[in-house]
């Protein structure tokens, strides 16, 4: 049940702490009650049982991705 999927925020209803989010062309209503004011349209969030758990940040991951890119390219 810890399966979570990345979704992209399409629109936000701050008053009700809800958002419309999209994954592979399917749009759903999700709760952003655990995101404070930190989330905005266009952000990617990890969604579990209809709730955004946390924001995905590509920048943060760069170190690992760069390393992988190098290993993947190398011979």
């Amino acid at each position: 049940m810890c399966l979570a999927i990345p979704m992209k925020i399409v629109s936000i209803d701050r008053n009700r702490s809800l958002a419309q989010a999209d994954a592979l062309g399917v749009t759903r209503t999700i709760s952003i009650a655990m995101m404070g004011d930190e989330v905005k349209e266009g952000d990617w969030v990890m969604v579990h049982t209809g709730f955004a758990l946390e924001k995905l940040e590509y920048e943060e991951a760069n170190e690992i991705l760069t390393l992988l890119q190098e290993v993947a390219k190398g011979d």
């Binding site: 049940m1 810890c2 399966l3 979570a4 990345p6 209503t29 709760s31 009650a33 655990m34 995101m35 404070g36 990617w44 990890m46 579990h48 049982t49 209809g50 709730f51 758990l53 946390e54 924001k55 995905l56 940040e57 590509y58 920048e59 943060e60 991951a61 170190e63 690992i64 991705l65 992988l68 890119q69 290993v71 993947a72 390219k73 190398g74």
Partner: protein, 382 residues
């Protein structure tokens, strides 16, 4: 000037994290570092087991690096007393909502699926939000959400707990905390571990910091990991590097999602909704400070109060006769070492709780494991 953020593309990232060369490169590094001593590493998440088995990661590891599955499946460790409570609530006329996995979890009192077959109104939901909506749509009925899970499920439910919940809504919960369970395994002195792979999504809530007790108390490295093959292998590599350096610490491999200190809003919601108390884990027993229970302040939404339910634990292990889940969930036995595996116990007809849910180790091995590889792993272990 602030550096422009790169657009994050989960698909591209995923293909990189599954790239064969990258994965094999890390595995090669693991083999080099493993040396003669090897390592016994435990993860505590059904989704990690899914990645490990589905991608055959164990076949890439040297024989003396053992990756074992710990208590990482909430359905597996949910006590039959909790399931019996849910059945009782459903029989008292409420609409009982729960996640799909819980429908088939078997106890000596039957399952929720059985209860439904005999007329109880048991409904599957994808999200606890759906249960609240159902209460709003059915103002004359009582709607109960039976929530089972770890921090990833407990925090969302906690974030809903407020005076705004409809009066005809209540909940039965069986929420557990993951790190105290691993702590109890190590404290018992019966299990030797060289490293812990901390569950990525649980850690979005509790933070990598929640796993710091393992290096501090037991000198065991702990690394928070994501769910792609390269994530898991990198976590193993980091553990081996720490072992070699002799400096156990907590590390975060899943930086693209997990903050070291976790999600403060989620933590606050949990503190507002729940008290931390000892909880019963099926197959293990009572574990101190490992359960979340609705606070007195919210007792109006406590289904046990509303429906006057007294529960009690069934038996010490709380497992059907002959089922070895108690050993499987602490990593002492591989599923195919259970004589019932694939015979009387299959995903289509589960006998024990570890075969019910997509997060159960027995289920995952049956569904995704290559039997030849599984036999080889077993042979290497003896």
């Amino acid at each position: 000037m602030k550096k422009a953020k790169k657009e994050m593309d989960p698909e591209k990232m995923q293909s990189l994290l599954r790239n064969e060369k990258a994965v094999k490169g890390i595995a090669g590094e693991i083999s080099r570092l493993a040396g003669k001593h090897g390592a016994r590493i435990m993860h505590v998440c059904g989704s990690h087991e899914h990645t490990a088995t589905r991608f055959g990661l164990r076949t890439l590891l040297p024989a003396n690096v053992e990756l074992i599955a710990g208590p990482g499946c909430p359905v597996c460790v949910c006590s039959s007393a909790d399931i019996r409570d849910a059945i009782e609530v459903a029989k008292k006329g409420a609409i009982l909502t729960t996640f799909g996995d819980m429908m088939r979890d078997r106890t000596q009192h039957g399952s929720l699926e059985d209860a439904r077959a005999t007329g109880a109104d048991v409904r599957m939901v994808y999200s606890p939000l759906d249960a609240v909506q159902m209460a709003k749509d059915n103002a004359r009925r009582e709607v109960v959400f039976f929530g089972v899970g770890f921090e990833t499920t407990a925090a969302p439910v906690a974030s809903m707990v407020s005076d705004d919940l409809p009066a005809n809504f209540s909940m039965l919960t069986s929420f557990k905390l993951t790190s105290p369970a691993v702590d109890a395994l190590l404290a018992s002195g019966k299990h030797h571990l060289d490293g812990i792979i901390a569950p990525g999504h649980v850690s979005t809530v509790v933070g990598a910091v929640d796993w710091a007790r393992f290096p501090e108390k037991y000198g065991v490295p702990a690394v928070v990991a994501g769910f792609e093959p390269a994530d898991l292998l990198l976590a193993i590599l980091k553990i081996l590097q720490q072992m070699k350096a002799g400096k156990p610490k907590v590390e975060n491999e899943y930086t693209r999602l997990v903050r070291f200190e976790g999600n403060p809003h989620a933590q606050e919601a949990m503190r507002n909704a729940f008290d931390v108390k000892p909880a019963f884990w099926r197959g293990i027993g009572m574990i101190p400070d490992s359960g979340l229970f609705l606070k007195e302040r919210w007792s109006d939404f406590d289904a046990k109060r509303k429906f006057e339910i007294q529960s009690s634990i069934d038996s010490e292990k709380d497992l059907p006769k002959g089922c070895h889940c108690d050993e499987v969930i602490v990593g002492e036995l591989y599923p195919n070492e259970c004589p019932l595996f694939g015979k009387t116990c299959t995903p289509a007809s589960p006998y024990g709780p570890c075969m019910v849910s997509g997060e159960g180790t027995c289920y995952i091995w049956h569904r995704f494991g290559d039997p030849r590889e599984l036999r080889k792993i077993l042979a290497g272990r003896k």
